[in-house]
Amino acid sequence: MTTDQLLEWTIKIGVIFFILLTTVAYLSYVERRVAGWIQLRVGPNRVGPFGLLQPLADGLKFIFKEDIIPREASKWLYLIAPAAAIIPALMSFIVIPFGSSVTLFGREITLHVTRFDVALLYILGVGSVGVYGVMLAGWSSNNKYSLLGGLRSSAQMISYELSLGASIVGVLLVAGSLDLVTIVEAQGATSGYWLGFIPKWNIFLQPIGFIIFFLSAMAETNRVPFDLPEAEAELVAGYFTEYSSMKFAMFFMSEYFHLITVTSMATTLYFGGWNGPFIAEYPFLSLVYFVLKVFIFIFIFMWIRFTMPRFRYDQLMALGWKVLLPASILNLIVTATVILFVN
């Protein structure tokens, strides 16, 4: 490992960290504007032009709020929980390829922090570890609403992780690799087109897998219609009821990080990642395509959030175990059989 390489990694991680934090801050703004637009309201529009400085104001507010630790809370776990939620949420980004390679300062720079043989398993792993933040927050607050929220959330995340994982295996069978960079490159222009114009994206090979992935991902991010862990009407705010100030903001941010992760995964696995026209001539375009695709997905997630009512808890579990899991296993069997006969 040379010093140059180390420097490149450090800079990449720093830049991604900065971009993610900014994006998360502005996603809260976008979310409220989209909500306002869908529900025929205005949304935040007072702070700065079009309310664009609203995230800044919110951030300042979070910092200056009083930080309360409940007297009966188990103190250490209460302090650790927000970190346990946000660290795994940030960790998954190091393997996501957000562009092809560009030449900067006379050096070819690949637009992903690292790539390794088990990148996809790594994302699933850190995703499943993320549930600890939620569980610990719910338990350590010593509040029945928090505890119920934490329990619901862990049950939901365990249930939907299975169908999420099983739906991804379909893509693995098609791509023959767990490395996200290889999966993206396999969907690129170099592998040709179907009928001359349809790009070889996995969505055309795995439509059912994608639907299962999409629904499971929505459940994993705890968003409406799967937001049982923090159902306001029943549980006040769920697992972070007792949290205030910056600790509350950390849970808030980790949910948006999860949102960006799953939308990036959907883009990478099913919609060709950074692939698009003219990327061979202008490599910077790949970055634009990736961001564009991710934002379309984020918009769809928000659209669903403000259009759908919430599931009942038993419906949620029935959907996960009785519909999505069998469907994903069936999808796996069919995919494997077809691949066996085609090759």
């Binding site: 043989d117 088990v118 790594y122 792993g125 499943s128 570890v129």
Partner: protein, 169 residues
């Protein structure tokens, strides 16, 4: 560099494992176990077994221990402070068994002096990658793999039977 990392990780793993036993609150024990699992995963990465390392995190830290903690939270243990039944007979049995285990560990350390690290190879020759693990499972170890699968299925069916109450039809 590698040796220093190994010592640090090994110390973390052993300390977390000891903490599992020392803690009186089952939740803290379960949380320490996560530390052990994470440290083991790092050791697997150092042994070039990325697949096993990732599976270690996904299965143990991500699923099994989540279930442990889930059950502990459901029972809400801190209120009741589960006391371990003082069964005198078992305690006297535990000492020779622990001694036997220690003796085995020392025997292994004594017999196995120097193990060569697996040689890093590329492509199809590489050890520890998803590809090589998959090929090994479905060719050389096919029968044990299938037997383990059937065993797990039996456990699953058993759990379903036990969970079903008499009245449910």
């Amino acid at each position: 560099m590698e040796k220093a990392l190994f010592i640090i990780i090994a110390v973390i793993a052993v300390a977390a494992a000891l903490n599992v036993l020392i803690q009186r609150n089952p939740l803290y024990s379960a949380l320490s176990l996560i530390g052990t699992m994470a440290a083991l995963s790092v050791l697997y990465v150092m042994l070039r077994a990325q697949f096993i390392a990732a599976v270690q995190i996904v299965v143990y830290a991500g699923a099994i221990l989540v279930l442990f903690i889930f059950v502990i939270m459901l029972l809400n243990a801190p209120k009741q402070q589960l006391q371990i039944d003082k069964q005198k007979g078992l305690r006297y049995l535990a000492i020779p068994l622990a001694g036997l285990l220690l003796a085995e560990a020392f025997y292994v350390v004594w017999r196995v002096q120097d193990i060569a690290m697996p040689v890093v190879k590329e492509g199809e020759e590489a050890v520890g990658t998803t590809w090589s693990v998959g090929v090994a499972l479905f060719t050389h170890y096919l029968l044990p793999f299938q037997v383990a699968g059937v065993l797990l299925l039996m456990a699953l069916i058993g759990a379903v039977v036990l969970a079903r109450r008499e009245g449910d039809k």
